[in-house]
Symmetry: C2
Subunit: 380 residues, 2 copies
């Protein structure tokens, strides 16, 4: 009966309250799993990591982006084989990371995991002094719904995440505009809700009256199909959006299914996909955003996107918002987005550029971008 | 522009189709992350694992339960520092696992992660020849909805997962019965949807007409509050269910809010919590299930649960179903559940016992239990 007894004990486990605090005012990161004391975040944004590897010869902290640290940091072996390191003050927001244990990629058992870098990685949440906009508040909360559907483009069952505003079920005759919102390379349909906290951002904006209630649809930006050459596969995601995702959403939810009430945005790779998808389908979208967009080289107002932007007057008649953003610390995304915006403005297209101060190619840039972008949508 | 170019390349990445198969008929596990080739499952249920750790001196596969392997298996170092091992034929279902790299706990970068063992662990899905009941089929699909709410018991915002049947939004005047469904020790509210695939099990049963459309509510079975002694914390989950969760669900969704239309079930620790919660609140539940329940020692029909079962006639007037289950390979849960059922039957309470052949204390036992339990609910 030993294991039964053990499980019974779990029911009445007692945790000393003193274990929750330390003298140095650091706190367990909000991204930690239940009861994990490390990583710990200090008031100035430094983060202390710990990993138990008694037999390792070298353990390093590998930041998944420059916001946490500029390079791999060597950890120091302490008594009992516990390795530790404290970073310099990190940028605010969620940062992917992992340990390199004698060179091998190892997740932190103390961290929640986040799908990024094409696998589940650790992540650490560093508070933003101005970060209340993505925290849960005492306001009506929408739902993030898992929606499975069959996509003819890939011939597979796929999962979309659909944010539905708090009022949706109480207004059975009302229809809503839709924002299609895409993750970056190596991530998936879970990214915006989990890493991005998009649901809290939306809840807060809607509760403040700064954005109209809307649906937000998140899908996986990988839709591999056999290449026409017969050799390998290509990503048919833009086609899937048009042929499968939008028709399914409009058939399943109470949407306003016209272009004036349909937006698309995405981050990094998803920003590039947003441009590719919308520029080829200007009859289907009126609001467009690329956050830290992977937009390729050689942008030209006349020839890029098959000339979709060449006739500014015609473009302006249809597109209500063309929006670019980037963190000030993410070269070359920053310069690229700013330069494209300038070129469009000189060309007569009133594209908008938003910059996130002090952040790099990471989720805090994209949370802030979403928070700035959404209030601009679906107005008169 | 190097990183922009790299991201642009991701958009058109080509994967040779030949990389998807090998000559030995093994296949990447369904639980792998996108494009990961290992772990691979063989037709007979053997699983081959691989981990890249050139500098490690010893790498072992640690099974998170006996269904995958009976003990730690040493992995063999190959060329380039890649370690491999193949298990004996494993039991069907999802098995937690991790690697021990020179003794340190390490997740498999090729695996999706699953919250179990109080942290995110790797998991491998071994197909069940009779496993179609938990696979996605071409039937109407319900949604799993993330619902945030404030719980007065703990003074915190908490997340419930709510399965809503496919027909829910199309029947705005219809009300539904509710099953409260709990995970086991070290897991959380995500377990039943992710590890358990409860949504596909429900979709399939409802589509077959074997179960009425119902809501299924999953919360986290940890609700720590300060102990009355002033020393440490205790788990107030049963109180949270009664005071916070049920009122919120009945206020938010179109439920049938009476005891005849309310069930509770759980696995392992959640089975124990189900018994504790329902036996103290027989006026609120009519259908009760404990799957591999952590039910404690010394069960006695007269005295256990403060005598809730002592008067069989009175108990039978109120409780429509009392259900226990276990896998045949999970001693002592199996014997315990069977013996309790027998004692209850001899006492005049028609408790039901279901056994899952060949499975242990793992998710396949609980998927099968749910699949057997749900059709028994909410009948006349």
């Amino acid at each position: 009966m030993k294991s039964l007894l053990l499980l019974a004990l779990v029911l009445i486990v007692a945790v000393p309250a003193s274990a929750q605090t330390t003298q140095d005012e650091s706190r367990p990161a909000a991204s930690n799993v239940r009861n994990a004391q490390y990583p710990r975040v200090h008031p100035d944004g430094r983060v202390t990591f710990r990993y138990n590897a008694p037999n390792a010869e070298r353990v390093q902290l590998h930041p998944g982006g420059p916001g946490l640290a500029a390079e791999d940091l060597d950890m120091v072996r302490g008594e009992n084989g516990v390795w530790t390191v404290t970073t310099p003050p990190a940028a605010p927001g969620l940062h992917y990371y992992w340990f390199l244990v004698d060179g091998a990629i190892v997740n932190d058992p103390g961290s929640e995991t986040y799908y990024g870098w094409n696998r589940q990685t650790s992540g650490v949440e560093v508070p933003d002094p101005a970060g209340d906009f993505y925290e849960i508040r005492d306001v009506p909360h929408g739902e993030v719904r898992e929606r499975w559907y069959f996509a003819s483009t890939t011939g597979q069952w796929r999962r979309a995440y659909v944010y539905v505003p708090a009022e949706y079920d109480a207004n059975p005759d009302k229809r809503y505009p839709v924002l299609y919102l895409q993750h970056g390379a190596g991530e998936d349909e879970r990214g915006w809700a989990k890493q991005g906290r998009m649901n809290f951002i939306m809840d807060n904006l809607i509760a403040e009256g700064r954005a109209p209630p809307m649906l937000v649809v998140m899908e996986q930006g990988y839709a591999m199909v056999p290449a026409e050459s017969g050799n390998g596969t290509v990503n048919a995601f833009p086609r899937l959006v048009i042929d499968d995702l939008i028709p399914m959403i409009d058939a399943t939810y109470r949407t306003l299914p016209d272009r004036e009430h349909r937006a698309m945005a995405g981050l990094s790779m998803g920003g590039g996909q947003t441009m590719t998808t919308t520029m080829a389908n200007l009859d289907k979208f009126a609001w467009i955003g690329a956050f830290s967009g992977a937009l390729g080289q050689g942008f030209d107002v006349q020839t890029s996107y098959d000339g979709a932007l060449a006739d500014a007057a015609s473009f302006n008649e249809r597109i209500r918002l063309l929006y670019f953003s980037a963190g000030t610390n993410e070269s070359p995304y920053y310069e690229n987005a700013r330069n494209i915006t300038r070129a469009l403005n000189e060309h007569g297209i009133p594209a908008v550029f938003f910059e996130s101060p002090g952040t790099a190619h990471d989720w805090q840039t994209w949370r802030r971008s979403l928070h700035d972008f959404v209030p601009r949508l679906f107005g008169e």
